[in-house]
């Protein structure tokens, strides 16, 4: 049998995702028939999830550099400068990833390990993790597959609270959307953020010193088992059958918390002693990836002994020990001379072997000058490859075909504001998210200033003794994605920026997760390209921190392809973006609740007739088509600048961005957020019964300020105008209509609880 046939057979027998050509490329690297371990290692490294082989050429257009960027995309997380406090420079560390496929198959475990993986990415840069967000897309909870959509939604949220709350990382919200396009393939995107001293960033490669001093690799954490074997490959396949549950990892937040404490102690000790080290979490590809990457990216080889790996199941084949994705493990490259002391911290001070039977820390490898990746199991060499092939990577230039959707407007647009607003407020997309947030611990660590729902973005005060506040928001509108993939990308950035700006914070960095169908389909690949172009375009326009000199940098992210059902239907193009902002003095941060009767409401951003994909069309007219709002980069920048200026002057008393439901719904939400013993409402200017003015989702903001402060603004921009005033009546009205908000409050607050958890349909 020739090599080609052997490779064909082994790909089939082992269920590998790599193509025959890829396996031949591997055979060329090693100069023989690859071993099972080599096949599984490269199957993971060359999976779409790890290699970005389809997306890399397109992603190159994203702006990733700006003057504040410390570490751009490439390592486990991105880093930007944040603030200086008492002479110490603090950097913000951010990471963003998807855990879509596992969450569809096993929602609780899938969502839990999603958080587990993303926080490890931030921890392993040496940071303390101070927040996480979940950006969730579920199927239509009241549609044909509603029962499954609701069960998945419940499971995902259970996974998030069971894992995230125990971990002690505050949940800073995120967003949740429902769309029948996710009936067969939910999206669970997760963001984690943290802070690290600028002089104490850890890197995921063995340091330069290992060329002259003996370095070893310590594996610390949970004992290795067979869970998650083939996880990255699984993430890169479609969900045609659901028998692959073995590929979903099992999370353990309890061990993670203890392990994080132990890591902190170890890293602090290494920094105090000025000992250079490499540090990386174990994710896709398990031990195989962490050992090969730590070595290869440091220009060294490594000799790994699988018999030294602490396992919880005996008799596992070497490729399973090496490639399983058992959670809660880290790899640490340190000088041999300090190894005993480090093992002591993990195994004695923090008692990992007692707390997790079979777990702990052990030396499993030694770095070598010989640039070869070598793995030994029971005295036999089970892998031997030159390290440079590990860093080389793989690229495909996918075909694409422009496939725009015809824009169809509804025949007529009747308007009855009280009834329209009720329909929007009491729809799954318009209703309060508080039933979801009530499961999350948003206040652990004691740094939270605005919780989810209190302002357009969560605001925390993450660094003790420092007044700098962090604002964060994540967004992405599937209805726009379905109609106009370019604008979906641009508005995902635009809306997240507006949410951050509304609180008074200046956007300093962004991350993206690009969720699409099968990239081998030219129309899907076109959607992907459009989304990336949209994001890049918006980022180039919204470099607010550098006053337009640099773009808003994308510093981390992830691509998730093959989000589709067995019938081949792709999800709506779903670029999801998180934006991070800084407010120098958090006491100036602004929430969205209306404050003082007699104040006026300023509309920022003239309304345009562009209601395509709007909540009004969907909820009131049952129409999902139409022309999506344009992204007007310069105007968007100028509006944000004005809102930030008002915040700095201290004259904005409440601010809310205009998005789903338009101006009218934004005003209602500002009223619904008021204190129950100080209710407020809004009277809009006369004659407002026009769907464009009330419901158009043209980007913009509403700002509450006193009439005197408004008068005091000498140069009023032409995109700003008075649209209403604040009253002490809990209602929204114009001269010809009125909606009492007490009529809807209870239903609005409990709608998701009733639909998703109580199944009251």
């Amino acid at each position: 049998m020739d090599l080609r046939d052997k490779l064909k057979d082994v790909i089939r027998e082992r269920g590998l995702a790599m193509t025959l050509q890829e396996s031949e490329k591997l055979a060329g690297y090693v100069g023989r028939m690859p071993t099972p371990l080599e096949l599984h290692l490269f199957d993971t490294m060359w999976s779409e999830h790890c290699s970005y082989k389809s997306s890399k050429p397109v992603l190159a257009q994203l702006p990733t550099q700006a003057s504040n960027v410390v570490v751009g995309p490439g390592e486990d997380a991105g880093i930007v400068r944040f603030c200086t406090c008492d002479g110490v420079d603090w950097d913000l560390v951010v990471a963003h990833e998807s855990h879509n496929h596992p969450s569809q198959v096993l929602p609780v475990e899938g969502a839990a390990t999603g958080i587990g993986g993303i926080v490890r990415d931030v921890y392993c840069m040496g940071a303390n993790v101070t927040g996480s967000l979940d950006l969730l897309r579920f199927g239509n909870p009241t549609g044909v597959s509603g029962e499954r959509a609701r069960a998945i939604c419940r499971g995902v949220i259970e996974g998030i609270w069971k894992y995230g709350n125990a971990l002690g990382v505050p949940n800073l919200g995120g967003d949740t959307r429902f769309h029948e396009g996710y009936d067969d393939n939910c999206l669970v995107n997760v963001v984690a953020l943290g802070f690290v001293r600028h002089d104490r960033i850890a890197h995921s490669f063995v340091p330069e010193e290992a060329h002259t001093e003996k370095y070893v690799l310590i594996l610390a954490g949970k004992s290795t088992d067979d869970t998650g074997f083939g996880g990255a490959t699984f993430a890169s396949a479609d969900l045609s059958d659901l028998t692959e549950k073995g590929a979903v990892q099992v999370a353990d937040p309890f061990l993670k918390r203890v392990l994080s404490e132990a890591n902190r102690t170890v890293l602090d000790m290494l920094f105090e002693k000025e000992i250079p080290f490499g540090f990386k979490d174990l994710g896709a590809g398990g031990i195989a990836c962490v050992t090969s990457e730590l070595a290869a990216h440091g220009g060294l080889g490594i000799h790994v002994d699988l018999d030294e790996v602490l396992v919880s199941i005996q008799g596992l084949p070497p490729e399973v020990i090496a490639c399983a994705e058992t959670q809660e493990r880290y790899g640490l490259a340190i000088p041999e001379s300090i190894a005993e002391e480090v093992l002591e911290i993990y195994n004695k001070s923090f008692e990992l072997p007692r707390l997790f039977p079979g777990g702990g820390a052990s030396i499993i490898g030694r770095f070598t000058k010989d640039p070869v990746y070598r793995v030994i199991h029971r005295g036999i060499e089970v892998a031997c490859a030159p390290v440079n092939c590990i860093t080389e990577g793989i690229v495909y230039n996918r075909e694409w075909k422009s496939s725009p959707i015809p824009l169809i407007e509804p025949d007529s647009r009747p308007v009855d504001p009280p009834s329209d607003l009720k329909k929007m407020l009491l729809s799954p997309d318009g209703a309060s998210r508080s039933p979801i947030w009530s499961y999350y611990d948003s206040e652990v660590q004691g740094t939270t200033h605005f919780r989810p729902g209190e302002a357009d973005a969560c605001v925390t005060v993450p660094i003790k003794g420092c007044k700098a506040g962090l604002a964060v928001s994540g967004d992405g509108n599937p209805w726009y994605g379905q109609l106009e993939p370019f604008l979906a990308g641009a508005h995902a950035v635009g809306e997240a920026v507006r949410n951050v700006v509304a609180t008074g914070a200046v956007p300093i960095a962004a991350t993206d997760c690009l969720n699409y169908g099968n990239p081998e389909k030219p129309d899907v690949f076109w959607q992907f390209r459009q989304g990336v172009e949209g994001i890049a375009h918006a980022c180039r326009n919204l470099g607010l921190e550098s006053e337009g000199e640099h773009p808003l940098p994308i510093v981390s992210g992830n691509v998730s392809f093959y989000n589709q059902s067995s019938s081949g239907g792709s999800i709506p193009p779903s670029p999801i973006v998180a934006v991070f902002g800084r407010i120098d003095d958090f006491t100036r941060a602004t929430d969205l609740s209306l404050k003082t009767p007699g104040n006026i409401i300023i509309l920022i951003g003239p309304r345009e007739d562009e209601l395509g994909g709007s909540l009004y069309y969907r909820s009131c007219l049952e129409h999902s088509g139409g022309k999506v709002p344009l992204f007007r980069g310069e105007l968007e920048y100028e509006m944000a600048r004005f809102v930030l200026d008002c915040a700095e002057a201290g004259i904005s008393q409440s601010v809310h961005d205009i998005s789903e439901g338009g101006l009218a719904l934004a005003a209602v939400e500002m009223a619904l957020a008021t204190r129950k013993d100080a209710r407020r409402g809004v009277i809009l200017e006369k004659g407002f019964a026009d769907p464009v003015i009330l419901y158009s989702e043209t980007p913009g903001y509403l700002i509450e300020m006193s009439p005197e402060d408004w008068e005091g603004i000498s140069a009023k921009p032409d995109f700003a105008a008075i649209v209403g005033k604040v009253t002490d009546d809990f209602s929204i009205s114009s001269d010809i209509w009125k909606l009492e908000l007490s009529e809807v409050l209870e239903e609005y607050t409990t709608l998701l609880d009733r639909i998703i958890w109580r199944e009251e349909l």
Binding site: R257, D585, R758
Partner: protein, 279 residues
Amino acid sequence: MKNRPLVAVLQFPGSNCEYETASVVRESGMDSLIFRWNQWKELSDSAPDAFILPGGFAFQDRVRAGTVAAKEEIMDLVFNQAQSGKPVLGICNGAQILVESGLVPGWENGRIESALAANHIHGRSGYLSRWVFLRAKKRALRVSPWLGMIGNSAIPVPIAHAEGRFVFAEEDLHRVSKCAALVYCDENGVETADYPVNPNGSFMNLAGIMNKEGNVLALMPHPERAFWMWQIPPWVPGVWGDRRTSLNHDPALAVEKGPGELFFRSLAGYFGLLSREEV
């Protein structure tokens, strides 16, 4: 020589509120150190003046929240110190540990007399994060070192737990009121057993219970998360809401103390650290 009283914050495997808890103790004019579960000797040698068991998920809530941690050797030390009258506070998971150790209510030695059962809310199960109001019981105000400065009005604090419902054995129900320290109420101080005023179905609306002597307090809500005014949500009603609203965009928001601070100031007062005016 010790200048300031030392408050030990215990870290069990799975605790996750130890840092912010130690921090607010220091902000209240006392020293605070975190001791790991196996630092029995260090804890003993430093002879703390008070102990706090912080929130979290000690030992993964294995068996039942607090059960495993209550059996750790380090708890023998806490137990003895509590018996000798040192102030002990358990917050959330810490409260669960105190109950499982038999320190509260502590009617009879060596007996576990209460449990923190799963929240009981119609149509909802699992974890609940929410701001609630608390009011201290009269006797507790007098005898507890943690409550001296609380006063009679309702104070807002957050809860975050899945198992926070105090329950007792049938034969003990007649004496439960004696251990009542704090109850859930509305912003006007009015008690009702209905959700969400009583957020978990707790017996007699109990949010915190104490031992006979009053030095040990098991408290489900998190005062360390309401220590500063800026931690209070903008929508909180009542007197504390008024104070929070009046501080909007005021630099004083960064330094003004919130309702949760009263617990720690009470302890400072107990140690004689407050001036006459402050008391």
